[in-house]
Every structure is written in C-alpha cells, then in structure tokens.
Symmetry: C2
Subunit: 579 residues, 2 copies
C-alpha cells in the first residue's frame, strides 16, 4: 500500500501522521512544493511582529523528524504538475527534472494561494504576501527598512499583518474594497473592531480599492479608486486566497469555482483520490452552499478523517460542515465569530432574531470587569442557534467557543439558559453572558421582550417616540435627537407624561445597554403602550452608527447649562444583570 | 396577587425581579433575615483579600434601589419563624415583634448556613465563618490583627479564604478531614491544585480533623486528630454548609436530609409554595441521587424559573439538574470541573473510560504557551460525555465551559473531534485541547489506543515491562523503577530488544504526556505486542503519586555519570500534537 500526499502542511501532514498510526507497514510519501513542511502558517504574522522571535519556532516538524518519529517519506521542493488517475500516477517536478510516482491512494492537500487582483504594478518588488515561512522572513526584513506600509485587504490575515507592521513602527494603512473591515462580521461588530485598529494607530480606508501601484525610488505610490494616493515602502497583498488546484482540475478532479468538491469523507470524483484543506469546498451548514473554508482546524481534522477512510476505519464518520468559527487579535481587542452572520441569513431568507448584549466578562464587582459586545442570531420559528459574534478586550474567545459548541450541538437559544458554566468572580458571572443571551432570546421568542434595532433607527425616529430611560447625566452625554428622557426609576410615576409625548405613536425605549429599557418596556406594556426596547442599547446604537455617531447624537453642555440630574442612579447600581 | 419571597440573595432576588418583569401589578414582598439583600456572596473572599477594596462593591442592590427600579417591597432584618400553608401565612419576627403576612404564592429561598462540626471550643471568638458581608468585614478586620490562621475545610470557599488570608500576610494552614483537598476533584487533579497552594505558601494538612479548640491569650490552639497542635490567631470554619430549613421542615415542607425537595419547576409538596437555591435538593443528572447543590448559577436560574411557573408562563421548562460545574482560583492556578467525577462513576458502577491530556492553552510556538492538565470521563458503551476536570495556569475555564456545554448537550466524546472552536495562535490550537480529547477518546472507543492508568502503577510494574519512550535526558530526570528506556524514534530499530526485555510480559509504554507513547504503542501493536500507553504520561503519573513521586521515581545523576543522550529529540519537536 502506497499512500501519496500532495502538500505537507496542515491537512496533508495530518493525513500522513494519522495514516502511519493506522498502518505501520504502509509506504507514505508526502510531496511538498515548497521548502518547508508542517510549518505554523497561522503564526506567521506573529513572527513578523517579533512576538515570535525565532524562525525555527514556526517549523513544527522537519522531514528528518517525521522520518524518525512516523517513518514518513517527506520530499520538499517536489511540485506535482500532473495527475493520471487511470494509471494512479502523479507527475512530480524537482530541480532534477520530472518523474512519475505511482500511488494506491492519493490525498490532495495543495492548499490555497494569494488571490492577485488585476492591479497594474502589482508585480512591484515592494508587494509581498504572507503565506509561507519565506514570506514572513522577507516581510520582517523589509519592515526593518520601510517606514510606511499599505495592506491590501482587511480580512483576518490582512489585519494581523497590519498589526504586526505597526508593532514594528511602520505607518500602516489598510485598504479594503468592502464597506467594512472583517467582512464575515456584521457591520456593528466590525465597527467595534475598527475602533481597536484605530487605537493601534492603523489607518483604515474602506469602500475603496487600489487601482494602480507606481514604483518610486524609496516608496511606491498606491493609487486608490477615490482618487487618493498612498505612499508605501511595503505593500502586503492580502485580498483573499484561491484554491491551488489548476493542475488537478485540468487532470480530471471535479472542482467548483476552483475548489475541489469532496464528500463528507473527503472523497473526490476520482476513485482513489481524496482531498482536504483550503483547496476543497465545504457545504455551508445552513444554506448548503458550497464554498472553500480556509481554516486550519477543519483542514487538520479533515486530514485525519481521510486517513481513517483510506484505511477503512469502520467508525470513520463524515465530517460535519465547518461553522466557520474564527478569531482575530487586534491589539487589546479580540473579535470572533461562529456560524452564520446577518448577511448569510438575509441572503438565505432565514427568519431569525438577533440579540445584542454588553455583559462583563466576569463579575461586575471584580476588579477589571469591562463589557464586551455579544451578538447572537437564532431561528424565529424554533429558536435554533444560527450564529454568534463577539468583540471586546476579555472573555470573547471563551464565549464564542461555548456558543460554537452549542451551535454544533444543535441547541436552541432557550437551552443556553441552563448551560452550567463555571462561575467564580474572576472567571464569569452567576448568570454568564451565555446564560443571559439565552434568557434574553427566550424572552424574545416568548413575546416578553420585543426588540427594536439600531439599524432601523431612521424609520423608528420618524414614526415613534424614542424614550431614553438613562439618567440625566447619561442623556446629556449623547442622545437620539427628539428623544424623551425619563429615567427608568421614575417611569411608573411619569407614565402620563410619556402618554402625552407619544400622542398615539409607538414608544421605542432605550438605555445604555438594554437592561433598564427592558424593565421600562415591561412597565409600558402593562400600561397599554405599543413598546419595544432597543437591542443592545446605546452601545449597540453607537456601534451601528460607527463614525457617524458623534455627529448624529445630541450632546448637552457638560457645564452650568446641564440639566440637573433627576437621578444619581447608574447602570451598574440599578439593574440586576439579567433579562 | 401577593408574592412573598423568603430570602433576598441569589435565588430569592432573581425570583422577585423576574416576577415584577412578568407582572407589573403583583405585590412582591421580599423578607430577608439579615441586614443585606442581593449581595455578592461569591465575592466575599476577594473582599477579605483586599482585591475588592470597597465593601459597597459587594452590595449589588439596596432595598431603595429595588423599590425604585422594580417596585419591590424588600424588608431586611425580617426573619420568617413559621409557615401555615393551610391559611397561606408566614410568621415574621422583627425587632418590633412577630407578625403574620399572608401570601398567594410563597418562594422559599432561605439558603444554607455553615455546618458546625461537633468540636469542643468551636464557640471561640476567634472562629469565623464567611457567609455574609458582615462576616467578610469582620474577617478582614481580624486578619489585620492576627498573624496565623487555620482554615477548617479544603473545599472551594475554604481555599479561597486561605488564599485571601495568605495575601494579607498571615501564616495559613488548611485542615481537611478528607485525604485530599477539593473533594469534588479526582485525586490526581487535586494534587495539582495542592501544588498551587504550596506555591502560595499555604500549608495543607489532609486526612486529619480538628478535635478541639483551646483559647489562648494571643492565639487559640487547634488540636488535630493526629496529635499535633496548630496556633491560630484566626480560625475560619468552612466545613461545608447545610440548608437553613428547620422552620419550614417543622411546618410541613417536605425535606430530605434537611434539603427541600422540589420538582423541575421548583414546586414543593405544599400547594402555593416554591423553593430555590442552596436550601433545595436537585437530582444528580447521572445517578438520580438527590443532593443540595450550593451554587449561585443554578440558584439564580431557579429563581427566574419559579417566577415563570407562578405567573403561568406557558414556555416555562423544567430546569435540568445542575452539572455541578465549579471553578476556583488558587494563586496562579485555576482548578475547574463539570459533571461526574471518578468517585461518582465508581459508586454508580457506570462503565466508563478516563483520558488525561496535557495540552498547551494555545499554539505551542506562541510565547507563554504552557500545558494544563485535562481529564475527561465518558461512557464505555456509547461514548457519552460524563464529566471533565482541568487544572492549570491558563485556558482552564474556557475548556471546562466548552465541555460543560457539551455534557449538557449530550454530546459524545467523538463529537468533540468536530467542535469548531476559535483558532488563532494567541487563543487556541488548530486542534484545540477539546478536539484532542475527542480524538484520543474516540481512539480508545475504537481500540486504536489502549490506555493504562497511573493509579494501577503497582500492579502494572509487577506483571509488565514498563517501556519509557522519552529521550535519555528525560529518562534520567526521573523514571519508573525497572523501566526500559527506548526513545520512540529508535523503537522501530530496537523492537528485538524490547521483545527480549519483555520476555513474554505485556509492555506498558509511557512518555512525558502520552503522545510519543501512543505512537510507540501503535508500532508495538503492529509488532504483535500486548501493549498499552500510559494515560497522560509522566505528568499524570507524577500527579497521581503526588508527594510520593520524588521518592518513588529513579533519578540518574545529572553530571558525568549520566547516560549519553541517545537522541536530542524533545517532546515539542517530535510529535504532532494529535492523537
């Protein structure tokens, strides 16, 4: 039995290692186009930044170690340039020429390569990608010489590269064609992440593209679609990736949009040929749409699975479609997501609710407690969890991992109420943010809470009375034009006033993060009002408005002209942190 | 509708707040025996330590705030001394005397009180408990005067109190009757937690009890069952709690071992009477045995649920039995658990597997990566997750929360393989510790991995060859007496040597944490050996041996006499971190 594996990084090497553990006698050959196998591609930006000092730390395994440990025949600088599935042969090019290697089973793990948009001048020597160890070494060297950098693309890797360069002292601008950074995130969450980039000193230009790169002596000039030009001693191309599958598609492996189509066990259309990793397409778990998922975790697991399938392990179970769980560090901030985002849900016309919370990462009275933004999507019919996103300085990764587990397990929003998470003041809350999301979401399903959303702000302000239930100080610090301020603790006594102000219109309530306005909403419902409470409160409203927030909101002068506080109550003191 | 709630802290106040949100017109009276409601009882140790400076931070809500915000009638220093369910009346004692209050619905949330063992001298004024704000204030004051302290009981709160006192500069000894600290943890995990206490400078005496407390001028003397005496300027009684239910049991509320028996909606045996929190008993989700669960999370959620039931919310679902998820900070270390422990599984005769891992909290090549101990129990028949424990300095709370979610969702060990967790080098691994647990556990179910366990060390060393597959340096640093050292990278070439040394006996393989020995195990199985690999490797073996480890293990001299390294391979370099 000879197993040949094309590609020796995440998925390919996982397949090779698992294969050896399942079959001590198989001949296992790994063909890697580049000079390195089993390197830490997700670690490259941290080598550029200098946080990982030693380049050797990126090399998880060498061919010699793999031979000694797993008896693998790993051949670097071996590029597969042809496949003949009828004779079970691959054509391999090396420095010495081209030869044929036969196989009994073949695993294709060629990965993906940087997408190169059609920009004149993109072949400038100042344009770099960040896909390999050599890329990272070169980028770090260049960063020592350059003082300015432009990053093309504000996806996860582009932003990691931008942070790495700003940490090296460069003046960094990120250019993104989409109207927001991190396109997988919903816009308000992306705006919160944008604020973190701003704190890092990174300039971001969204909604524009690079139209040309013109070489200069010390720096290139990057022309933008809005007519501006940026100086760049270094240009990082990070405009997405595309499967590196041209050879295989040409030779009969069925692909869609360049991605190899595989079943749940990694089998391609050709007998004896499996494929894994960034070069393959996986079904969206919600919509069924097939798309490449360039994530290390699913690739590694797929590698293991195809080995199970090749060696006939009876328990080998199809791999479920990846949820697309992803996370990125942006200075002091973490942004993460799992499952479907708003765009996917809208496009698939899936009827859903969205809730926004701003809970603290652990007990509010414990030193260092600070809120993070948490957004959860769930099905309107049965409450099934569809996706979640979080942005903040602490507690984000934990909650997204819990929610990813819940989505994978098929839990409903109401099930989150009773998930028993570990509570002690330095770690969580007696009602953890995940439990709170369950309570709030179940309230929405049960009709106890009726939400309105900041994205509908314009329509709501036109037809409804906006009732701001924060205290007078908070109201003065920025409020929606035309809104009425009645602190929630005074609402019962001032219902008549609200009735007069509403004058038959609906009432749309808000507070800082949605807790006090929820209490007010229940009072208004009992009083016969058509009421709804703003999801996520002013925090979410500001995140939705983004940079327009300060211009839109009405600020009252902080001096003598200020309205005297009607209440000294603050968010923290007044409200039990529960929906 | 008049709702009366007895007890104004976690469960009781949650019920009151939810009741108001469901019914604006109900009269809601909260009767609290003590001077404070809605205080942060889990925060008390951190007030004693000084991390929480201001006592007011512990007071989440005052009666005045609760009146303003939720229109609650909160009455402190109101002790309920009788219940007449036939007339729906409670008898309430205050400073002014005793009066009757009628109710339509009654929620009992009296909580628990410190268990007071029968120790002569326990009424010494130097003996304190840590249950209330006043307790915490008094303890902090006393700690400023005392230089020595004895903590009776090494449960979660006892250890938090011990850490608080050692942070205040006291010389602290913890006395625990059980043979280990933190009895809910399995012994090897408790030993790891013990090491953290040792690093804090806390002395721990397990397997002994206090037999008498004798007053002294500056300090009391605590006599122990082993004949020793300890000096103590301060004694903290933390020997568990018991439900504060005597009045209600006497007046007809059905209790078992002092805990109020409730159904999944919090209903007691008496019509119109509900109960929640530490005073109630919940079913063990695995064994069905009823026991009190003194945890804030389940209490808060139960409070919310009984309000739903009282106000007839159609969607109110029975609360599932708590998993007993718990966590404690011990200096630089976190110890946490969820679900069943070894003892519960053995007592319930549930056939299960146990796996031990020592993964890093995030990518091993990222600065600061350090292993933590992870133990998972799952059913031998169908792989259903039963429980998990973790101890370490980072990443513990996240993995226990993920596993608690998985246990709650009824996932199997194999399901953990494909849980899509958020990966980026600063946060996790491409194969997260949770995924690794799934891979290892599924290998055990599939027979690909056969484990042996350190707790059977004595029996295995008697009947088997212990094969140590670490490198020579590691072997020299401490190994099992009589074991043969063959680094895993040399095993294929030295199989004959192993064959001779085994001489027909089984081979029991080990390495540092179980990864290399797993590879070796697969080689040995292919070679026809009766082989098994040590769960968790030397790390788990040392944790199991605890303080006996250094005496038991054979150390080779670190100088000239040392065996020359047969391989320079280290754990980190050699093995892909995957089972």
């Amino acid at each position: 039995m000879r197993l040949v594996i094309v590609g020796g990084v995440a998925g390919g090497m996982s397949a090779a290692a698992r294969a050896r553990r399942l079959d001590e006698s198989a001949e296992i050959i790994v063909l890697e186009k580049g000079p390195w196998v089993s390197f830490a591609n997700c670690g490259l930006p941290y080598f550029v930044s200098g946080e990982i000092e030693d380049r050797n730390a990126l090399i998880v395994q060498t061919p010699g170690q793999l031979r000694a440990s797993l008896n693998l025949d790993v051949r670097t600088n071996h590029e597969v340039v042809g496949l003949d599935a009828s004779t079970r042969t691959v054509h391999v090019r090396t420095a010495e020429g081209t030869r044929e290697i036969g196989y009994d089973a073949l695993v294709l793990a060629p990965g993906a390569e940087a997408r190169r948009p059609d920009i004149p001048g993109l072949d400038s020597s100042r344009v770099r990608t960040l896909r390999t160890v050599d890329d990272a070494v070169a980028l770090r060297d260049e960063a020592n010489r350059a003082t300015t950098a432009v990053v093309l693309g504000a996806g996860f890797i582009g932003l990691e590269a931008a942070e790495a360069l700003v940490r090296r002292g460069l003046d960094v601008t990120v250019v993104e064609l989409a109207p927001q950074i991190l396109p997988p995130l919903d816009a308000p969450m992306a705006n919160l992440a944008l604020a973190a980039l701003s704190r890092l000193g990174i300039t971001v230009r969204t909604g524009v593209s690079a139209t040309a790169i013109r070489p200069g002596t010390d720096e290139d000039s990057v022309a933008l679609s809005d007519g501006n030009e940026l100086r760049a001693g270094l240009i990082v191309l990070s405009a997405g990736v595309q499967p590196a599958t041209a050879v295989f598609e040409r030779d009969g492996v069925y692909c869609e949009h360049g991605a190899i189509l595989v079943d749940g066990r990694g089998r391609t259309n050709l007998p004896g040929v499996w494929a894994v990793g960034d070069a393959t397409a996986a079904s969206d778990p919600l919509t069924g749409a097939r798309r490449p998922v360039a994530l290390a975790g699913p690739a590694n697991r797929a590698g293991r699975l195809v080995a199970d399938d090749i060696f006939g392990l009876p328990a080998a179970r199809p791999q479920p479609a990846p949820l697309g769980t992803a996370i990125v560090r942006l200075g002091d901030t973490t942004a993460a997501m799992t499952g479907a985002n708003k765009r996917t849900l809208m496009e698939a016309a899936i009827d859903h609710h969205t809730i926004d919370l701003h809970p603290t990462q652990y007990a509010g009275y414990f030193p260092g407690a600070v809120p993070f933004a948490l957004r959860v999507h769930f099905a309107a019919n049965d409450g099934r969890l569809l996706g979640a996103q979080a942005v903040g300085t602490d507690g984000v990764d934990k909650r997204i991992d819990v929610l990813a587990t819940a989505v994978r397990a098929g839990l409903t929003i109401g099930d989150l109420i009773d998930v028993d998470l570990a509570y002690s003041p330095p770690y969580g809350n007696a009602k953890d943010p995940v439990n709170l999301a369950g309570m709030l979401g179940q309230n929405v399903l049960d009709g106890i809470t009726r939400l309105w959303h900041a994205e509908n702000l314009e329509a709501e302000t036109e037809r409804a009375l906006i009732l701001d239930t924060r205290n007078a100080d908070e109201f003065a610090s920025g409020h929606v034009p035309g809104s009425l301020n009645v602190p929630h603790t005074e609402l019962r006594a001032r219902l008549d006033e609200v009735h007069r102000a509403a004058a038959g219109r609906p009432v749309r309530v808000l507070c800082a993060s949605g807790m006090r306005s929820y209490l007010a909403h229940r009072v208004l419902v009992a009083g016969g009002f058509d009421s709804a409470t703003l999801s996520g409160g002013m925090r979410s409203l500001r995140a939705t408005l983004g940079e327009q927030a300060s211009a839109y909101l009405v600020h009252l002068p902080p001096d003598g002209a200020r309205i005297p506080p009607a209440s000294t109550t603050t968010e923290r003191q007044t409200v039990r942190s529960e929906p």
